[in-house]
């Protein structure tokens, strides 16, 4: 238990009350064999070190994801080696590859079936924006049009080290969350949104083509002639 992380800077600054025990005092107590921590830190420490991804791949990025899970890159060093074949048991959806419009409703359905707390990584250019296939007639221009994405990993495809880096960034994000307040995980907030609407297959496109609660197109003002 000696590797319980010290208070995250976000969590220290987020609470209004001053810290009762400073980090230095806690470190001193730990050397004496007394562990002093917060419920929040303990909870987040446990969650962030057992992020179980969904065993789900879409395209060439999935090959890199598989490589990251094998012995050479060894994602189990970070507690994420337990790829779950069922969304009911998974914490993390790695959207690894091109999301076609035909596949998008299934991806969103899988996301809906995952229990909270859940996180989403958009891995690679296609999952972020459509990538090289952005102008294709059957390619979704980024999975963030329908589900909230926590970590974006650029690359085409990203190397396994990049996926590990994204996972570490996600772990830092989880450790920075609070049990209460606006920075709490979704399932601890009042505005709990576990269900996201699944688009229908329309005559020309998905209907709706994006979820306006999650995604708004960027507002850009062009000034050049």
């Amino acid at each position: 238990m000696s590797d319980v992380p010290s208070a995250h800077p976000d969590s220290a600054s987020g609470s209004a009350a001053p810290a009762l025990v400073s980090d230095q005092e806690r470190e001193e107590l730990r050397r004496q064999g007394i562990l002093l921590t917060k419920m929040e830190d303990l909870y987040n420490w446990g969650r962030s070190n057992s992020v179980w991804p969904l065993n789900f791949g879409l395209a060439c990025c999935a090959i890199e994801m598989i490589a990251a899970s094998m012995a050479r890159f060894d994602i189990s060093r970070f507690g994420s080696e337990v790829y779950r074949p069922s969304p009911r048991q998974a914490d993390l959806l790695i959207v690894s590859g091109t999301v076609t419009k035909k596949m998008a409703p299934q991806v969103i359905r899988l996301w809906n079936q995952m229990p909270e707390p859940k996180y989403c990584i958009a891995m690679g250019a296609c999952a972020i924006s459509g990538g090289p296939f952005k102008q294709g007639y059957n390619v979704l221009k980024g999975i963030d049009r329908f589900i909230p994405v926590d970590i974006y990993i650029p690359g085409c495809p990203p190397r396994p080290e990049a996926l590990l880096n994204g996972l570490i960034a996600l772990q830092e994000k989880i450790r920075g969350q609070h049990l209460t307040g606006p920075n709490a995980p979704r399932h601890l907030r009042a505005d709990d949104r576990c269900e996201y609407p699944v688009p229908e297959f329309g005559a020309h496109d998905l209907e709706p083509p994006a979820n306006p609660e999650v995604f708004q197109p960027p507002t850009i003002v062009r000034t050049e002639k």
Binding site: K102, Q135, N138, K141, H204, D205, A210, P218, R222, T223
Partner: protein
């Protein structure tokens, strides 16, 4: 293997009344092809598969081509002699005619037994709308099934006699044919950092140029040529 001209003559001798036309490819590839009429296409395909000199037992590729309506301007030059005895005048007459569009299915055939090929077949529909039918060659080469479904899905070529003609890549509710030249994609454009060509036109439509830059946006960086917007 015999040349395509010889093959065409042999087919015409074997199937009297069949339409077999040699379509030459003027490009560097010079892959010429045989255009078959719809009436006897399947009999000819069976012959190509079973003929001992050909044995084209493997259909490697089926694809579609969209030929939209084309306006052709023909210029005819007529020489009018000058009654005064001067040099004759050349009068140009331009006539426009509309060549109706059609769809084509293209088959690439090889022989695994005799190790030759490809022999390229074309089937042509009557038009692009209500008579987009060609005979399916799936009963002849079983491997054509999914590729003919793909041509049906993306081009709208209806293969009569196909055992299971459904969309294969797009969803069943989809109404358009995305690989046709006149396909209009749904207007879900968003800004891309490097707009060019057709993307630039969409960018101009979705993000019109502001007359004055708003106050809350940072001023645009100076253009490299020194001209300010």
């Amino acid at each position: 293997m015999e040349t395509l001209e010889q093959l065409r003559d042999r087919l015409l001798a074997r199937f009297p009344g069949a339409e077999v036309t040699l379509v030459t490819n003027p490009g560097a590839a010079a892959q010429h092809s045989l255009l078959l009429g719809a009436s006897q296409a399947r009999e000819i395909a069976c012959f190509l598969r079973d003929d001992p000199a050909l044995q084209l037992d493997y259909c490697s590729n089926v694809t579609g081509i969209d030929w939209p309506d084309k306006e052709i301007v023909e210029t005819t030059k007529t020489t009018v002699p000058d009654p005064a005895g001067g040099p004759a005048k050349v009068v140009e007459q331009k006539t426009k005619r509309l060549q109706p569009g059609y769809l084509e299915a293209v088959y690439h055939l090889y022989s695994m037994a005799l190790k030759h090929g490809p022999v390229i077949l074309r089937l042509r529909t009557a038009n692009r709308t209500d008579q987009a039918n060609v005979p399916s060659l799936t009963p002849v080469w079983r491997g054509c099934e999914f590729q003919e479904r793909e041509a049906f899905d993306l081009f709208g070529i209806v293969f009569t006699g196909h055992p299971d003609l459904r969309r294969i890549l797009m969803w069943d509710e989809f109404k358009d044919f995305p690989m046709r030249k006149d396909y209009v994609e749904p207007d879900d454009y968003e800004w891309e950092p490097t707009p060019h060509g057709g993307v630039l036109e969409k960018a101009a439509k979705h993000y019109p140029v502001a007359a004055t830059p708003p106050a809350d946006t940072p001023p645009a960086p100076p253009a490299p040529e020194g001209k300010q917007p």
